[in-house]
Symmetry: C2
Subunit: 278 residues, 2 copies
DNA sequence: CGGTGCTTTCCGCTCAGCGATACGGTGGGC
DNA sequence: GCCCACCGTATCGCTGAGCGGAAAGCACCG
């Protein structure tokens, strides 16, 4: 940045991003002083930059003056491929699965060594689980995670297994050898199973969503209460959905905005945009 | 910013944000040259800043070198109150409404003069409508919009009516006087109706989600095909859901992350987080 | 094999950003 | 009622981070 810095070598942009990064699921609301502390910036600097972010509505402030993530940033985030295309296409299929089962339906992608939850459907009748959209969970202890890992490239699988495999319940597979065997079994039968490996009382089935080339990047799964588990019965529906999603993804591969007219004129100029409601 | 600018008075932060703002629903994928053009920056500058955004994963690049919104930005956006709290609380109720009706269920908030769609549920059986999460639509021609507008503060309503009221179908209410009458009717009966006012062939009901104090900021609505419209029949369920959501919102008002343990230790350190799956 | 349009790198000039310091407000202890 | 601690905000003069024209590198085309 310009001038008088205590920590030279850091760019303005990096500082602004550090402010955004100061928020997390446990701290979605921060006073200036803590925002500055968490971002590692002097209060005066944080104040100035936060003011600019606020002007753009990347941040906003509530009645108490606390900073929060702003609407505009939320809107921008929705344009990420994982939300814009994948989620949009998968949603109706997930909805159908929900209707058929009334259980938790999950859509996750691989990101680094985590399964990143892109969408989750659950009603009041589903097993309560506190995963939410944006949650990251390990791949060896979740259904969608195992589905992604089983079909990943060999070097990746080995890299994953080299790392410690944290144990969440007494059923979590946390030995390298057992995990590799489990993954082989998964590819053989074409779907992943977990039984109380992440949380006592719930178990899950999941299938990969095949991608055009290479390893699948997304997986679709269902989590149910152990007591009412008849998981393999759910596989055909799950697999049909995954294949349908894959087909739609391939068909719309070069569509910037699926289901959307491109380069729409501004709202007021459109005749009958069939954009919505009644 | 520092040095040799063509357009002095603009800050680095503003430029970085301009890059993010260059993406929209019709342009979720941009080559450097167009990114620079849309952001109003020289290519060299855009390249440098985009590189920094990419390092943080606010942006990423696909195989062709095109820039897209990055995963990290998506994750950050999820922390916005509309997604983090409102959506999270409303979701199961929306799901129940979907189960009962199998129609499109919408959750929207007021933002400026627009109804901003925060969540939408629809399966394959619902009327196809191309609104999606993050879409903005006018308040005078949509169900959720009317519900929000009818209960807004008087000065806001008048400011809204002063502006032109674009017409989308021959049923759109685009005269000031008729709109004001319609809004009065809406508050009297406690719910909003639209009949083919945005799109021929579909109509909707919506109710406001009462807020602790002042005008409601969110509304819940259902869009159905005109042919199978028995809208008022849906009102009781809709209203019960809206009230339940309002209650949950009030109860968790100071909860940073509803349903979540606060200040979780890092993943690998937790014993049995009951975070998910089986 | 010159031309055209892109992405990427270089580098010296300069002003935008930095943050210590100061100021006003608010609340808690005594 | 007074003090002190802590917070958010405003000021301002010093300085190196950022700027972007220019040129190199690259890919495709005719």
């Amino acid at each position: 940045m310009a001038g008088n810095t205590r920590s030279p070598g850091q760019s303005v942009t990096a500082r602004a991003l550090a402010l955004l990064g100061a928020f997390d699921v446990a701290h979605p609301r921060l006073p200036l002083s803590e925002l500055a502390r968490r971002a590692g910036l002097p209060a005066a600097t944080a104040h100035r930059l936060a003011g600019e972010l606020e002007a753009w509505r990347a941040l906003d402030r509530d009645d108490d003056g606390y900073y929060r993530i702003g609407l505009r940033l939320w809107e921008a985030g929705l344009l990420a491929p994982v939300s814009g295309r994948l989620r949009e296409i998968a949603m109706p299929f997930m909805q159908d699965l929900y209707e058929a089962t009334r259980e938790n339906i999950h859509l996750a992608v691989r990101d680094g060594f985590d399964a990143l939850y892109v969408e989750k459907l659950s009603g009041h009748r589903s097993v309560p689980i506190i995963s939410r959209i944006g949650t990251r969970l390990p791949m060896h202890s979740t259904g969608v995670g195992k589905a992604l890992l089983a079909y990943a490239e060999q070097p990746f699988v080995h890299a994953y297994c080299e790392r410690p495999l944290p144990r969440y319940t007494r059923y979590t597979i946390s030995e390298r050898g057992r995990l590799l065997r489990e993954l082989r079994l998964t590819t053989e039968r074409g779907y992943a199973l977990t039984t109380e490996e992440m949380t006592l009382g719930s178990c899950s089935v999941a299938v990969p969503i095949p991608s055009e080339e290479g390893a699948p990047t997304a997986a679709l799964g269902i989590v149910v209460h152990s007591a009412r588990a008849e998981l393999p019965r759910l596989v055909p529906a799950l697999r049909r959905s995954a294949e349908a999603i894959a087909r739609r993804m391939a068909e719309t591969a070069d569509d910037p905005a699926p289901g959307f007219l491109h380069d729409l004129p501004p709202l007021s100029a459109r005749a009958n945009p069939r954009a919505d409601s009644g």
